[in-house]
């Protein structure tokens, strides 16, 4: 694997399945499959050639198989026009995909104990990660949560792959009633976890990161910010992240992420420009430097 560059291709749909509240699409995409590392995502064009939906939709890669030269599976919930269109695809349709994109989950050098925490479809990228970690001799524990039973992800696979799998639902329809963060501390202690991997909504990632920090173990989170390009050129997907040098920067979650060290993401400041961020208004006094006006084009 010398070439990590993403590729763009028209991939034939192999299968479209319903999985509880989700749809799973598998496409034949050898170039993507061979480059893929856990935590990466693909960006899918939606609506066809004359679509009014211009922007690609980002989906975590859930599974990669060697069949047909390499297939890639992603799962999604129907949300708006793009996912509704995807849900109507049939096998042999072509999907225009770009991938694999983004910074993957860093892997531990040693066979340590890993707890993987997922919320809703945020669980998707944790499955290939679990397989890889197992392959390296790591212990894997899952904590997967969702609003309701039909949104809990691949419970059977989770149980099969992991040492333990704990499930939580907001309505108690499956597993423990509550949130993943209610269950996590116990799992960390029982499993003597050395590292946390998490993917899900921002508030969940914030709490998981805080917990990991309290337990003094590293945490890798995969964030989700609205993305227009997925390839690093549009600057729409920024989150405030503290760098090695202690300086906060607005970094692109598509190329500098989506995986970040949890303690470096300034969750409380997501949706703002922290006053001490590089280039924030007044960051370096040049006299009367105003925030950019609302009519700003770029």
């Amino acid at each position: 694997m010398s070439d990590f560059r993403p590729v763009q291709m028209r991939s034939p749909v192999l299968t479209v399945r319903r999985v509880d509240a989700y749809h799973a699409i598998t496409v034949v995409a050898p170039g993507v499959a061979e480059r893929f590392r856990s935590g990466q995502f693909i960006a899918v064009a939606v609506g066809g050639d004359q679509s009014g939906m211009l922007l690609r939709r980002a989906f975590a890669i859930h599974d990669v198989k060697p069949d047909y030269g390499g297939t890639v599976e992603f799962l999604f919930a129907v949300r708006g026009g793009g996912t509704a269109w995807l849900a109507e695809r049939r096998s042999r349709d072509l999907l225009d995909i770009v991938g694999p994109l983004g910074r993957p989950f860093p892997l531990p050098r040693d066979p340590v104990n890993c707890v993987l925490v997922g919320g809703g479809y945020g669980s998707a990228p944790l499955f290939p990660l679990a397989h890889t970690l197992r392959g390296r001799g790591c212990r894997v524990d899952f904590v997967l949560g969702a609003a309701s039973a039909d949104r809990v992800f691949s419970a059977i696979t989770a149980r099969r792959v992991a040492e333990t799998a704990t499930f939580t639902t907001d309505d108690g329809s499956f597993g423990v009633r509550g949130r993943v963060t209610d269950a996590l501390p116990q799992v960390i202690e029982d499993a003597r976890s050395d590292v946390v991997y998490a993917c899900g909504p921002m508030p969940m990632l914030r709490e998981v990161s805080a917990m990991a920090m309290r337990h003094d173990i590293p945490v890798q989170v995969s964030v989700e910010e609205t993305m227009a390009c997925g390839t690093g050129v549009c600057m729409t997907c920024v989150v405030p992240v503290v760098g090695e040098d202690g300086i906060t920067r607005m970094v692109r979650s598509c190329v500098d992420g989506p995986v970040f060290r949890g303690e470096r993401v300034r969750f409380d400041d997501v949706g703002t420009i922290p006053f001490d961020a590089l280039g924030a208004p007044g960051w370096k006094a040049r006299g009367g430097d105003d925030p950019v006006s609302a009519r700003e084009a770029g």
Partner: protein, 315 residues
Amino acid sequence: MSPDLRVRLGDVELANPIMTAAGCAGAGRELAQFFDVARIGAVVTKSVMLEPRAGWPAPRMAETPSGMLSAIGLQGPGIDVFLQRDLPWLLSRGGRAVVSVAGGGSAEYAELAGRLSEAPGVSVIEVNLSSPNLADRGRHFTDDPAAAAEAVRAVRSGARSDIPVFAKLSPDVPDLVGLAGACVEAGADGLSMINTVRGMSIDTATMRPAVAGGMGGVSGPAIRPIAVACVYEVHAALPDVPIIGMGGVRTGSDALEFVLAGASAVAVGTVIFHDPSACVRILREFEEALGEHGVARVSDLVGAAHRPMGAALGR
């Protein structure tokens, strides 16, 4: 015989008329993963400022029908990093650099132009006039032809004389032709248009504006007819001034539309987000379209839609 695609922007010649639009391609590095950046006419960089700038908070964008609304706020690392890291990279790959600059006043514009002139390899400087004029309570330079002219004059005076200066215009102005004329008068060698169109989306779930900045700029194919009208009108008034046309170019045929309206070169912006290989695809489609029309030189077509029926090709 394949058509001659060379075009002139002032004293500079480009191998072909297809380029990226400012802020939609970084400085070319990310796109180089998808195609050879030396193949397109030029890479227009994200607008560079003197200092690092963090821009607007997220959410910075919303999708709109056949377009998008964005409010980035000129995030960037500043001219030092640009000159040390981005420009050398682009030149090392054989890319043509059109550098977009944004300043808060004439002094900054002049300084940016000066810094760029010291560096080797800048083909054209594009003056983003949609940045806030700090001397005028943050109104845009384009809101006032005199302020726009002053910014252009500052860049022209700061820049090496062999580097053409293009003034980039917004369509949301009282008198576009007047503004264009004022910029040319002030020394602009050409015009780039259009920047995004002012717009807004409201998220009906949260009942709040969809982008953190409130107002934003609309771009993409949705605005193409607006952009074509601007290029047509300004070319009619100033037929000798080269124009870089942009706004929603998605296909080679769209690029041809801008050339027929009066553009000498055509920039691709938002559609790059949809298709990272868009520029080379559009270049290929554009060349094919010229072939179908039996056109020998792209320059023969510039402004052809203005000519009387039957004389479109000027032959």
